[in-house]
């Protein structure tokens, strides 16, 4: 039997173009020869520059990431409204199905649903049974393919928390920028209203808090998006969504349940969360009742949801309706639950627990796509492309446990033109559409995410980590003639305020980002100073030799080189070797680059696109320079310059672009604490000389504090201890000196802290400043300044110690040091509690 040919989205099968493609292609030809290819390049560049290539799965693997084709997939208004009606019905149906399986289970008792699809379904969460909730589904997506007969059919229902909508929105944003003409010529419906609707619907889910009027909606509910964190494939999409929906982006560790209420741990204390937009696998959200090894969830969350104090959207157990085999039963379930005929069919699918279905598949396996009966995230298997022994093995596996399998008819998906070099090539596509329930009815995103099918096994299952995507354009009926319903008129929106309160974890990450960037910078400064002397080889003067020894000690303190190089007896060659090693894999700078990259990613949701681009581009340049150093000290010096540039650009962009709220405060605080600590320690090392050789130390102090020019301006070439120490320790106007850092730390802590802590933290900084000033005063008044100066190191070390302690106190005060969670009564009883838990990152389908 010959297979029917795939339908072509663009042509009508009689040699003509479909109407809605005509004007689209017209606008392309207006771009001229090679115009489209040029736009495609601009599009790819835009994706790379803004880091959107990584909005979806496959964040860092470049060759595996997503690209967007400049040719969209246009859908005429009438066709789309039919799809929208069909999807709305399916979403209603699946919500009713969930209400039954988590409630009375009449569908099972009446034999309309085989027990295997519920009881043998890992996403059917028994802990969610009997939840009293008006709905379990507020967000729904479906993957659709169009068969040779021209009808769109659903390949997969996504009820847990479908990925891809952030990507759809990014595709549109960049395409609008790169190809504005096309949008002018066509009437393309907007995507933005959907996000407003979604945001509004999430707010409506909030239950009135105790004390509030029980009727009507809550005044200013807090919505948070729960993500597995930066390690998750969809992290960037989660970040993107949290911005689009103006909700807090939180991880399990940011939340805590107290007395039946869910709270976000912020700098200002616990803040109640009313609605949780769940982007973590439902099985992972509560280690008390569900997967006990999960660190992604919050113990007690289900108890809180059970009483209605928090709404989880979609409900933890909603993934049960993704079971592929359900498709076989939907027509009957639709009649039973909604008393309607199913409007939008599934791609023909059979549950292989039925004997008859099994024999059909056995007769000709190549006509089917074999899928898990219950796991909608599992990839399909394609018997047609299997070797005969593998195919036989698959059939045997099915025969052993038939209830675990489903078969979906393998139909050729429609093809759409994609840019290929300078021409267009038709390629098979699958389209994902998104729906949200606005409290009254289901509404569709007026667009979607189409993707090119590279291989048939990517048809079902999770979104693959990369590929070619297409923007879906929903066209209005006629230009200037708006027939039929307008794009859904959004109901009046409530005024809302984004949650400005910083989660403690984010503050912690910003603080350490500040510290690490500063640490990178001063390591670079030390290394350059050392290289300048090493470069002189044997021509090193005695004074320079002493300076190099001091620098070596500073480098040891900074962790750049091994401790034995600080004892003054090592050769210049071994110091040079150690410096070269520290940019290599396993070296200190290499590790610090990693730490800075990791922290930058983790606070990315707090940075604007431009800031993020500045942070990462300068870092990438610095890393690239460091990677090519090889054995050249010159190259190393060059790499250090680019580290200093990186640090300067971070400081600049933070100063210019970050709102002076919690986030900036912590970034700056980290930086100041680190610099204060480093400066104090280095001055202590530089001054550690006999009084008669103190001048060498003073010279080095000025160099390390980048203050030589200022000194010369003030005091010409006369080098004396008191003026030097005043400039680097007590002058509040010297941004490289200690006093400047302490004043800044005092100001930042004063702004951050309220109540008792203020005295303790800000007061400590003020005390250190007074101490530094007293030190300089004492040197100034001493009979012999040189003797006084050479006696300073122990006192400076004690200031450095006090700074470390201050940093610890800041950490304790702001970044809750939580002990490790452990489970009782289920997991193996671990010797070390930390070993009893494993971190698993599970993304949404």
């Amino acid at each position: 039997m010959t297979r029917p040919a795939a339908m072509d989205e663009m042509v009508d099968g009689k040699g003509g173009l479909r109407t809605h493609w005509r004007s689209l292609l017209g606008s392309f030809s207006a771009l001229g020869e090679g115009g489209l290819a040029e736009r495609a390049q601009r599009l790819t560049r835009a994706f790379e520059e803004e880091g959107v290539t990584s909005v979806l799965p496959g964040a860092t693997a470049h060759e595996q990431s997503w690209r967007c084709d400049p040719v969209p997939l246009p859908i005429p208004a009438a066709e789309f409204s039919e799809l929208e009606a069909g999807l709305a019905q399916r979403a209603t149906l699946l919500d009713a199905l969930l209400a039954d399986i988590y409630g009375p289970q009449r569908l099972l008792a009446d034999g309309l649903l085989p027990p295997a699809l519920v009881y043998n379904n890992a996403s059917f969460l028994r802990a969610c049974r009997f939840f009293d909730t008006p709905s379990r589904l507020q967000f729904y997506a479906a993957d659709l393919v169009r068969g040779p007969d021209g009808a769109w059919r659903v390949l997969a229902d996504r009820t847990s928390g479908a990925a891809g909508i952030g990507f759809a929105r990014e595709n549109r944003r960049l395409l609008t920028r790169v190809m504005p003409e096309a949008f002018h010529q066509m009437q393309v419906r907007q995507l933005r209203p959907f996000f407003d609707l979604w945001q509004d619907s999430l707010q409506k889910l909030a239950a009135p808090r105790s004390g509030e009027h029980a009727v009507g909606r809550k005044a200013n509910p807090t919505v948070a998006l729960l993500t597995p964190g930066t390690g998750a494939a969809q992290w960037f999409e989660h970040m993107y969504l949290s911005r689009e929906l103006s909700c807090a982006l939180v991880e399990g560790g940011d939340l805590t349940v107290r007395n039946g209420t869910l709270f976000l741990k912020t700098l200002r204390g616990l803040q109640q969360v009313d609605v949780l937009l769940r982007r973590v696998d439902g099985r992972m959200i509560d280690p008390l009742e569900l997967d006990h090894g999960s660190l992604l969830g919050v113990p007690g969350l289900l108890d809180t949801a059970r009483t209605g104090a928090v709404r989880i959207s979609n409900d933890a157990g909603s993934g049960a309706a993704e079971a592929p085999a359900l498709a076989a039963f939907l027509p009957a379930l639709c009649m039973r639950l909604l008393d309607e005929r199913l409007l939008l069919q599934s791609v023909p699918t059979m549950w292989l627990g039925e004997h008859r279905a099994r024999s059909v598949v056995q007769q000709d396996p190549s006509r089917w796509l074999i899928r898990s009966a219950t796991d909608g995230g599992a990839q399909g298997l394609v018997p047609a492309s299997m070797q005969p022994p593998d195919r036989a093995a698959l059939l045997r596996k099915i025969e052993m446990r038939p209830w675990e399998w489903a078969a979906t008819a393998s139909i050729p998906p429609s093809v759409a033109p994609c840019l290929d070099g300078n021409g267009l090539t038709p390629r098979p596509i699958v389209m994902r559409l998104f729906m949200v329930h606005d409290g009254v009815r289901w509404q569709a995103l007026q667009g979607g995410l189409a993707r090119v099918l590279e291989t048939a096994d990517h048809m079902a299952g999770r979104l693959p980590p990369g590929g070619l995507a297409k923007d879906v354009w929903v066209l209005n009926a006629e230009r200037g003639d708006v027939a039929g319903p307008l794009p859904a008129a959004a109901p009046m929106l409530q005024i809302r305020r984004a949650t400005g309160d910083l989660p403690s974890r984010v503050a912690d990450n910003l603080f350490w980002l500040g510290r690490y960037v500063e640490r990178l910078e001063h390591s670079a400064r030390l290394i350059r100073a050392a290289i300048a002397r090493l470069a002189r080889g044997t021509g090193l003067s005695a004074r320079e030799g002493v300076e190099l020894q001091c620098l070596a000690r500073c480098l040891v303190e900074a962790g750049c080189v091994p401790a034995e190089l600080g004892n003054g007896s090592s050769s210049t060659t071994s110091l040079a070797e150690a410096l070269l090693a520290c940019v290599r894999e396993g070296g200190m700078l290499h590790d610090r680059f990693n730490a800075v990259s990791r922290l930058t990613e983790s606070v990315r949701d707090r940075l604007t696109g431009d800031m993020y681009a500045t942070f990462t581009q300068a870092l990438r340049t610095a890393r690239a320079n460091a990677a090519t150093v090889g054995r050249s000290l010159d190259g190393l010096s060059h790499a250090m310059v680019s580290i200093q540039r990186y640090s300067t650009s971070v400081a600049g962009v933070a100063a210019e672009s970050m709102v002076r709220g919690g986030g900036w405060l912590f970034l700056d605080l980290g930086r100041r604490v680190e610099r204060a600590h480093a400066v104090t320690g280095e001055i202590a090392i530089a001054l550690d000389h006999a009084p008669e050789r103190i001048e060498t130390g003073l010279r080095l102090v000025l160099e390390l504090c980048d203050s030589a020019i200022t000194y010369r301006t003030r005091y010409l070439n006369v080098l004396q201890p008191a003026p030097v120490l005043d400039l680097v320790l007590a002058d509040q106007g010297n941004p490289r000196g200690l006093a400047f850092q302490l004043v800044a730390i005092h100001g930042l802590l004063d702004e951050l802290t309220e109540g008792d802590g203020r005295e303790m933290l800000a007061g400590a900084a003020a005390g250190l400043l007074a101490e530094a000033e007293a030190l300089v005063e004492a040197v100034l008044e001493a009979k012999d300044q040189a003797i006084a100066a050479s006696g300073l190191p122990p006192k400076l070390e004690s200031i450095a110690g006090a700074l470390s302690e201050l940093s610890d106190r800041i950490t304790r005060r702001y970044f809750a040091l939580l002990p490790v969670a452990q489970t009782l009564g289920v997991g193996p009883e671990a010797d070390d509690p930390a070993d009893g838990l494993s971190v698993e990152l599970v993304g949404a389908a």
């Binding site: 289970q105 099972l108 008792a109 009446d110 034999g111 649903l113 085989p114 027990p115 295997a116 009881y119 043998n120 028994r126 802990a127 049974r129 009997f130 805590t256 349940v257 107290r258 007395n259 039946g260 280690p287 008390l288 009742e289 006990h292 113990p299 007690g300 108890d303 059970r306 009483t307 627990g353 209830w403 939580l818 002990p819 490790v820 969670a821 452990q822 489970t823 009782l824 009564g825 289920v826 193996p828 009883e829 010797d831 509690p833």
Partner: protein, 290 residues
């Protein structure tokens, strides 16, 4: 037969616990074969929040949350229970075991609830060796109860009751190879064997009377939490409880706490704590006739 139950579980922590959440399956349930006259659950220190409800299987669940520092957590249930399981039908009157399997997998009004217990569960994955061990009992067409009783007796005879050779997570394959374990292991083994034959089998937790009835031999597994198997005889006769540790058909010496697919569904004291360091657990159970 009326019993008074007293069951105390005490956790002692090496370091203080700051925050604790517990889910308890400790209050006995009422059903056809058992009536709970009263039951009372107390915790020390007293929790800041308590919630009670029923789980998917109809068992009583209590949730307890503590947000004050504590070094120990003790929870005690006391209850009075009247037990009288109906006597099982005559073995020869029960359905052929293959028909029971068919009725369960067909689901629908006759078998949908039993069907839940034919599938793998997290702690009892497919174990062909368990099926092979039991298959001599399941000759074609044999009445199901007759096969079950033989299997129940074989496990008692062929396995030795030894504490400390297994733990909560010992797989059935290991129990089979070492031919030793405790009540939970024998229960998981028998459930795995029945499910390999397509037969619904569930995990029942509860207690066994501390002193055996006069004139009978001492029972194994008294003085602690006990576990046994619930097996389905088909739509007509429903469930029968079998205790493979003692080769008993459960009648009036057992008190049922809860049932589920395996231990994991009904772990008596489940919890997540913050802090605590290492901990030790002690359990004391007393079941006396009144």
């Amino acid at each position: 037969m009326k019993y008074r139950v007293s069951h105390t579980t005490t956790y002692t922590y090496a370091r203080p616990v700051d925050l604790a959440s517990h889910m308890l399956h400790l209050s006995p349930r009422s059903f056809l074969g058992q009536k709970v006259l009263w039951s009372d659950l107390q915790a020390d220190p007293p929790p800041s929040r308590v919630n009670v409800g029923a789980d998917h299987f109809g068992n009583h669940v209590s949730w307890m949350f503590m947000d004050r520092r504590h070094d120990t957590f003790a929870v005690t249930v006391k209850a009075e229970v009247d037990v009288a399981f109906p006597l099982p039908p005559k073995a020869c009157d029960t359905m052929p075991w293959e028909d029971v399997a068919k009725a369960a997998s067909a689901g629908g009004s006759d078998g949908w609830q039993a069907a839940e217990f034919i599938f793998d569960s997290p702690m009892i994955p497919t174990e062909p060796a368990a099926g092979a061990y039991a298959s001599p009992c399941f000759s074609p067409g044999r009445p199901i109860l007759s096969a079950l009783l033989e299997l129940n007796g074989r496990i008692r005879k062929e396995f030795s009751f030894k504490a400390g050779v297994t733990n909560v997570h010992t797989p059935v394959s290991r129990v089979l190879s070492q031919r030793a374990g405790v009540c939970q292991d024998f229960t998981h083994l028998m459930i795995a064997a029945l499910r390999m034959h397509g037969l619904p089998a569930r995990y029942v937790s509860g207690y066994l009377r501390t002193k055996p009835p006069p004139g009978t031999k001492p029972r194994l597994g008294a003085d602690q939490s006990h576990a046994w198997v619930g097996a389905w005889l088909g739509p007509q006769h429903g469930w029968v409880d079998l205790d493979p540790t003692n080769d008993l058909v459960v009648h009036d010496e057992h008190v049922v706490l809860a049932w589920g697919r395996d231990y994991g569904d009904i772990s008596p004291v489940r919890g997540v704590i913050l802090g605590g360091g290492r901990h030790s657990v002690s359990v004391g159970v007393d079941l006396e006739p009144i």
